[in-house]
């Protein structure tokens, strides 16, 4: 086990969760972060899908890394990602049809998610399969937790529900409370991501740009 979770591997996993987060630090994958976070459930499913796809794409590319000719590597990477995205998309359609309808094109568009190509190019092409898997997992979860936090607040404040269950009691509405329609609109996702970035940089001074 010592070899499996060396300090380097740990760093590879923990880095993307906070100080090298793909969404808040590298500002990648913003498009889907805005599009699928109006409700918590699609955000969860999207985060899970991306995690699975990045992790396995990383492993496959890492296994192939010594045999892929440099000039066509992008195409090879795209084929691998496209195959995994198709598998995930079909599984969702089969077992979670409602969510797959809500996510619509965004599952397919995972192919164009910058986090994927970024990890494949920057990490999997030059690292061993196990590290690549951990790296994919870390980046996927780093992406997912941002989506989940944003989705949590957008659904709670925008619809008064969580995962479709009503959590704000009817008494609140009777007393004059109403849902915030702006939360449902995409701009609010951007502002929430900005808030996460704000908190994160306030807590980690070394992340602040001069």
């Amino acid at each position: 086990m010592g070899k499996l979770f060396s300090n380097k591997t740990k760093e590879v996993f923990v880095g993307p969760l906070n100080k090298n987060n793909p969404v808040t630090i590298q500002v990648l994958g913003i498009c889907s972060a805005l599009a699928v976070t109006a409700k918590l459930e699609p955000a969860l499913v999207m985060g899970l899908s991306v995690t699975i796809i990045v992790a396995f794409a990383n492993v496959i590319i890492s296994l192939l890394r010594n045999t892929i000719p440099g000039r066509i590597r992008i195409i090879v990477q795209l084929v691998v990602v496209a195959a995994l995205v198709t598998v995930v998309s079909e599984v969702l359609k089969a077992f979670a049809y409602d969510v797959s309808v809500q996510l619509s094109v965004y599952i397919g568009l995972i192919i164009t998610n910058c986090i994927l190509m970024g990890r494949l190019e920057a990490f999997a092409m030059s690292n061993k399969p196990w590290e690549s898997f951990i790296d994919g997992l870390g980046n996927g979860i780093g992406y997912a937790w941002i989506l989940i936090v944003v989705g949590f607040f957008r659904e709670l404040l925008g619809s008064g529900t969580l995962l479709g269950y009503k959590v704000i009691p009817q008494a609140f509405y009777d007393a004059g409370y109403s849902n915030n329609g702006l939360m449902i609109l995409p701009p609010m996702a951007l502002i929430l991501v900005a808030c996460i970035i704000w908190v994160q940089r306030a807590r980690n001074k070394e992340l602040q740009e001069k």
């Binding site: 915030n180 329609g181 702006l182």
Partner: protein, 410 residues
Amino acid sequence: MSGLRKFLDKIKPNFEEGGKFAKLHSVFDGFETFLFVPNTTSKKGSHIHDATDSKRTMIIVVLALVPALLFGMYNVGYQHFLAIGQDMGFWGTFFFGFLAVLPIILVSYIVGLGIEFIVAQIKGHEIQEGYLVTGFLIPLIVPVDTPLWMIAVATAFAVIFAKEVFGGTGMNIFNVALVTRAFLFFAYPTAMSGDTVWVRTKGAFGFGKGEVIDAFSGATPLGQVGTATGPTADIVGTLGEPLNFWDGVIGLIPGSIGETSVIAIALGAILLLVTKVASWKTMLSVFAGGAIVGAIFNWIGPDTAVAHFPWYEHLVFGGFAFGAVFMATDPVTSSRTETGKWIYGFLVGAMAITIRVLNPGYAEGMMLAILLMNAFAPLIDFYVVDANIKRRLKRKSPSNLPQGEALERS
């Protein structure tokens, strides 16, 4: 006066470094400079001294808003008693409006100034005076029935995200009061549009209760025009009486609290123009832009009621005049170059009418038009300055001089 000065001097040590209330230093400082002109001056660098500082500028804008506020209070009462079919006389009417509007003003100031105080405390600088005007504007641009907690949430959002994150007073890109309204508009559309929010039908603190009479209709003129299905619309007042251009000028019609009366707004505009706090170029060009685009739609617009709405009525109904006088001229968020003011103002007016006419979802286009142009104001300034530089460079280079002149110089 000197008693007050003595009192301040006496308690001042408490608020200085090491004093009991050193944490509240910026709060004390804010009140002290609010009451007295500070007697310290800058020691370094060159400064241009002027009788007006930003506190005085802000106070002038607040004074300019007072007619619109007073008229707005009266109109709130007037509409209310029309709706319930009672007559309370002038003072009763005004008093009702006062009771209905006062909580909104208090909420706006308490929330906004509270955040300003906290931020000043955290950053350790003085309290900035910009919120004096913003806090006064917010109550004037919302419907009287907006729930107070919504105003509190929207004010907090606007002050934090439209102002403090950009660096506070003078650094904001968007007009803070309009961001408040935009937040309300998009977050709680049912409380900000439709025909039930503009006239208060319930009492205020138990005063002026009554049953709404049958003839009552609470839609704003622009709301009626915007939702009309036919090619023409007859705009009517609270009791169904037809309205014309002059009703819009006088302003005893449903609408946001301070926006209805062009006369009250004009009084404020005169003060702003005489003291040169606002730019007449921006103001004039907003009206010109609105009038021209309104006339174009009258002439070759689509066959809808709002496109046929006469251009001169566009200028007096809704928030057009209020926005033109108090919002578009905001020195922080509008263009600063003189040519830029013409372009900026014209586009604000033109966009406002375009939104009103072409987008049935928005009966009122002024808010969105000004916010949109706020975003473009720096770009306009950039190109105006750039064009100026290019023109002067051209004048200098010998190849562009007239033939004879170039020869003479060489």
